[in-house]
Amino acid sequence: MTAINPKKPVPYSVSGSLRKKLWNSKTLILMCVPAIIYFIAFSYAPLPGIYVAFVNYNYRKGIFGSPFVGLKNFDFVAKSGKLWMLTKNTILFNLVFLLLDNALAVIVAILMKEIQSKSFRKVSQTMMFLPYFISQVLVGLLVFSLLNSDTGFLNVILKGLGAEPLRLYKTGEPWPFIITLVHLWQKTGYNSVVYFAAIMGIDAAVIEASMIDGANGWQKIRYIILPSLRPTIVILLLFALGGIVKGDFGLFWNLVGRNPTLYQKVDIIEMFVYRATVSDFNFSTASAVGLYQSLIGFILVLSVNTIVKKIEPDYSLF
């Protein structure tokens, strides 16, 4: 094994003046350049554009020439009286997705690792991975063909068996579950790849040693694999938290669409904003909502990171 010993002194000094530090890290910096350029171009440079959320945007006057209107663009979400309900729904859906996604992905990754037949593993991995590449529009149609009342697969079978058909498109209650199921079906295969890679990265010697010490399969998972995955799990959770106020519009829109019986039960911020502003093409209100979501996401990441830092400083992002 050629694992890097973290105690071994680094080949260059990171102390001294800033210039010296930069010079010493020149290779690392060079390797970072593409990422740095990417973030400057697509994340930092457009930041001043947030100002568009506070103006009445005019195409010819541009963002900074348009008249300033203060918080007026935030009015329409605030006045709807639905802001709290929408934010709550969005966060709860994402929390459920987040927890189930990761739990299931870890389980699947471990199961994959335990499969002995290589060809069977490849086939099942590919099959689980495939739904990730299906466009949400097709997923929406697929679900409709499965569940609709007149010609849906499920109801044709039920009718064939002499049972009452399930009128799923006329009742809102089951939809939080249907949406979650479809989401998991689509994303689990993809998510498990990261964990699978992490498991493959675990020092084989450690696992071997545990086997020699007489650990059974379950103990191996409980005491070796899961603890080794902990940093990955925490970091992925922290990253995901930043987007917790941003709903998966494609999934919701294609499954639920314009059917009010359904969307009244599973409304998220994006869906409401789309319905309310699709006929009023307005950059400013859209940006206002985006800013609101980013701010909440930012606050969430900061607070959760602080908590993680208190409990396990090594796992925090910064």
Binding site: N56, N148, N259, T261, L262, R275, D280, F281
Partner: protein
Amino acid sequence: MKKLLSIVLAIAMVLGLCGIASAESPVAKAADTWAEKWADVDTSEHVVINYMTTGDAPSAANAGAQDEMLAELNKILTEKVNAEINIVWISWTDYLANYNLRIAAMDGAIDLIGSSTDWLDAWPNAKRGGFLELSTEMLEKYAPVTYASVPKDHWDVCTYEGNIYFIPEDNYSQWTNHGFAYRLDWAKEAGLANGCQTWDDLTTYVKYVKATYGDKLIALWDTDGTAYPASGYITSFAKWRSIDGLASGALWGGYLDDPYTINCLYLVETDKLVEYAKLMKEWDEIGVWPTDVLSNTGADNRDEFRKGKVALEQHHTNTWTSLVSPKADSNNTMYVDNPNADVGFYYWGKEAGYVTRDLVTHGVAAVSAASKNPERTLMVYDLLRNDKACYNLFNYGIEGRSYAIDENGMRYTPDTYSADKDGISTNWWWGRNDDLEIPSAAMNWDAINALYEEYDKIAVMYPYEAFVFDNTNVQSYINQCNEIYNTYMKYLCFGQYSETPEEKVAEFQEALKAAGVDEVTAELQAQIDATYKK
């Protein structure tokens, strides 16, 4: 009837050729006007005018005919104004958002823009700075024929804060009032000798069709639940007109005998709305639409209607004219399968006896504020709208390939014509001109003219043409109300709720009030007062 029409057309053509009747019309002396006005215009640089329209580009199979037409047209345009035209398509999927986005880009890649104040965002784009202000001097110089043929009061309705923003397509006869197209032959079988004259007749019709043909049809009306005939029902009894262009839901307007007192239709006509909701509960039980109507997004009801697979289509008169004419569309196969097939039209307002004429701004042409060649854009527009050769090419294609003219002076498709390879499309819905239109022999003029005559007797003007709304203070309320409207219309128009109609309507009205419907009404009233009660 057909004979009469052809005689009238023949006389009109003869007179037109001799230059007697229309000697004074701006189109008749267009060539002279251009020679005079454009003599000193510098057209030394060859430019491409990009014309943006909504619609799907012609299929690859039709590209040949389309390219041939454009090549021919561009030859003429180059010769006359040293310019050529290129069509930029905004396809129907999410057309409104993409249309607005394209205008907002302001990159100079678009010159001429087709627009509308009722179905495309002409005013919002004008107010946000997307359209160039057109001075009368500019129009008079670069689009002289159009300028002379559009009367002053029509220019006035295209004016906001002293600037003209677009050119109206005001010399083209069409009716875009909505209603139900239905199978007249089946209605007659159902005992309705004169077709559907009332909503009760429509109910009789759907009951009969369901019982008789229900098994053979996909649905009676294979709708996706986004067409809401509620206002159609109410205004079939109450003479009320909406102010167009505020939001997709036509919520605000006024009674025709007092149009400048503004109200919200769904608050002042509670009884009729409840009556309608009850009727639609009944239609839902009859099974007029698919069970999952509100999620039924994959259907194309109009196409199915053409093929005789459904019994109702909700759209406007102009769509009906193509449904009632067997040869107007190659998909009209119901006439092949059933020689007795016939299509009737029940329009909103029939029972109260009125229809509103189309807005002059239902189709308008604007120049992009980012256009590098606004002058040449106007010149090309003037030619496309008023020059016979350009007009025919741009609207009908190459003569002999895409169309031919019969002995009555009417347009027909030659025997060699195949819709798959000889068709052209330019979606020129912003510059058609009755002076140059060649009527199509494929249309069922007997039926169409009969309905048009009926309309002419009862037509009233749209009362809010001169009104441009400044939405700054209430747009957020309008968005809220529109969202509420779109939610509740789906319940009410398709009977998709478990409460009683009275309860659901009351809930709808409460939600509208909570969303600020009264604030919008008050703001509209104040601005209407300022416009009309000076």
